[in-house]
């Protein structure tokens, strides 16, 4: 199958939020076929490697098949969170878009 290295925002959308020092990133597939592919390939190790520099203690992935969504929970990734982080994005508001910028080898038939 032919693939292309493109950001996953070509086949998904999403949003991130915070609770204390933790963040969640929901990645929502645009189609059921893209969801199946993401569920198989956008794994915890892939996401952990991508965010390796940001200091998360653990990363968990939850699935919501009904929503075509993968929900990643990144513990301790906010360097102190809304109250104590010195970063400009204290609440991880941009983490969702950052993950959507991850390039993967995506099958061309999913790229409409």
């Amino acid at each position: 199958m032919k693939t292309r290295s493109v950001p996953i925002n070509r086949i998904a959308h999403g949003r991130s939020g915070d609770k204390g020092n933790h963040a969640n990133i929901a990645i929502i597939a645009n189609t059921p076929a893209s969801y199946s592919w993401l569920k198989e390939h956008l794994t915890v190790p892939v996401v952990a490697q991508y965010f390796a520099s940001m200091g998360a203690s653990t990363i968990e992935r939850y699935v919501a098949d009904n929503l075509f969504a993968l929900n990643f929970v990144l513990k301790d990734i906010l360097a102190g969170g809304a109250s104590q982080s010195l970063r400009i994005d204290t609440q991880g508001k941009t983490l969702g878009l950052t993950l959507l910028q991850l390039k993967m080898e995506i099958p061309e038939n999913l790229l409409t």
Binding site: G80, S83, D89
Partner: protein, 474 residues
């Protein structure tokens, strides 16, 4: 069949002041909810109350109420539920009633829900063996007890229903779970029974409705990834949950408003700030989002069905804030060529000048905004994902970057000294330093967040509902 229309006109303290008025004007609402309290808002309000016993509530609510007053007369069935009470719901009620009286609005009884504020009871609770341990790491609250400035339990919908039963048209609470602001009106209107397990899924539906509307425009087109397809965001309509007796609801917004409600915008907000979607904890229940069915049933109308839940846990979450020093962050514009290199050099100059007078900080941090600072280290040449990406390749040729430097420390005077090191860079740094127009960056006190749990049986006896009714001659 009876339905209840609940709209949220405020997603946080600082949200658009016109939104609640527009929503009431055009939303055909039964209930307006207004949500003012973020995780750390209570600490700020708590300090305000310590300085002035009449303060400690969200004063924006009074400005909003002033503008809503005519609609409370025109729409005699409209009710308002808000957590604007902060750490002083009674003072909020007094000021709100004075405001209505000044505008000659009669027959608008107000009630307050209190009992969430555990700060006055902390020592007694600790003595009795309630550790209020940090939810993440189990540390005892006793280790930071002397620095605590606020402690509030997240109450649920039950006391708000009790407040509505007094005949109140405005219910003011302190800390309650955001979703419960919506659950309560639905439970009251449909006479749902909190203790009837066969009705649990109805509460789950209303909880999800509350979760979807609590952040205002975030479910009606705000933040939507597909932002270019969202029409007229300038006039964005705030969200309305149109709920039926079974807890199923249509998420929508006022007709002729801007924004967008579709499966995408609703799903994005559904998972916002959610961890395990099969276990969404509120004081009222533990909702499961993985059974939900979302269906677009018309333009800007999404039907949400099949909510499910298991009964609530035996604990309330407690949000505690404690003093954690001071911090300061300043920014300067750094022009290219070599913008990034110059920015890093400027940061070194600041650190060296402060070290010269013996100052180092507990935490210090430098960002070159424009080079991927939003996610430190991710947009770098060492990340294989971006090694061939322009983001790293053209760093040397960026037209400009924003240099942002931040420190935090237990010593306030040291942080204040730091705030004075920015301006000199305009004349004593490399060329192309600008953007220093708004004075020295402010030094602010840091309040750290301490989430904990407490048995409901400890808090429930503290909960009170108090109503204030106008005398007809007032």
């Amino acid at each position: 069949m009876k339905r209840v229309r609940i709209g949220n006109g405020c997603g946080f303290w600082g949200d658009q002041l016109d939104a609640p008025v527009e929503l009431v004007k055009t939303g055909r609402l039964d209930y307006l909810t207004l949500e003012y309290l973020a995780e750390l808002t209570m600490s700020i309000l708590s300090l305000q109350r310590q300085r002035d016993p009449q303060k400690g509530f969200a004063t924006d609510f009074i400005s909003v109420l002033k503008r809503l007053a005519p609609y409370l007369i025109d729409q005699p069935n409209l009710k308002i539920v808000t957590n604007a009470g902060g750490v002083n719901p009674e003072a909020c009620m007094q000021v709100a009633s004075e405001q209505l009286r000044a505008q000659k609005v009669r027959d608008v009884p107000i009630a307050v829900v209190q009992g969430d504020n555990l700060f006055p009871h902390l020592d007694r609770l600790l003595e009795k063996g309630h550790r209020l341990a940090h939810m993440d790491n189990g540390t005892d609250l006793a280790t930071i007890r002397d620095r605590v400035v606020s402690a509030n339990a997240y109450l649920g919908a039950r006391p708000i229903v009790e407040a509505l039963k007094t005949g109140a048209r405005i219910v003011i609470t302190g800390r309650v779970a955001d979703a419960s602001l919506t659950v309560a009106p639905a439970a009251y209107e449909f006479d749902w029974d909190f203790d009837n397990i066969t009705q649990l899924n109805r509460f789950a539906g209303a909880t999800i409705a509350g979760h979807l509307i609590e952040c205002g425009a975030q479910s009606t087109g705000g933040l939507a990834c597909n932002w270019q397809s969202v029409p007229d965001l300038a006039n964005v309509g705030y969200p309305i949950a149109d709920i039926d007796e079974q807890g199923e609801f249509i998420l929508t917004k006022p007709e002729d408003s801007g924004g967008l409600v579709n499966r995408q915008t609703v799903t994005e907000q559904l998972l916002y700030e959610v961890f395990n979607p099969a276990e969404y904890f509120t004081p009222d229940l533990v909702a499961d989002f993985t059974s939900l069915q979302l269906e677009e049933v018309g333009p800007n109308r999404v039907l949400v069905q099949n909510a499910s839940a298991r009964p609530a846990t035996s604990t309330y979450k407690v949000s505690i804030a404690y003093r954690a020093g001071h911090s300061c962050a300043g920014m300067l514009l750094i022009s290219g060529p070599q913008a990034k290199q110059k920015a890093e050099y400027c940061a070194q100059l600041i650190w060296k000048r402060l070290e010269r007078i013996g100052l180092r900080f507990d935490k210090q941090y430098v960002e070159c905004i424009g080079t991927g600072a939003k996610a430190p280290g991710v947009f770098s040449a060492t990340n294989s994902n971006f090694s061939q990406n322009l983001n790293s390749a053209f760093e040397g040729e960026l037209p400009e970057v924003m240099l942002r430097i931040a420190v935090s420390d237990s010593r306030q005077d040291a942080v204040e000294r730091f705030s004075k090191e920015f301006a000199p860079l305009v004349t004593s740094g490399p060329p192309g330093v600008s953007g220093y127009t708004s004075g020295r960056p402010p030094v602010r006190e840091v309040f750290a967040y301490w989430p904990a749990l407490i048995d409901k049986s400890v808090v429930d006896p503290l909960i009170t509902v108090k109503s204030l009714t106008f005398s007809p001659n007032s």
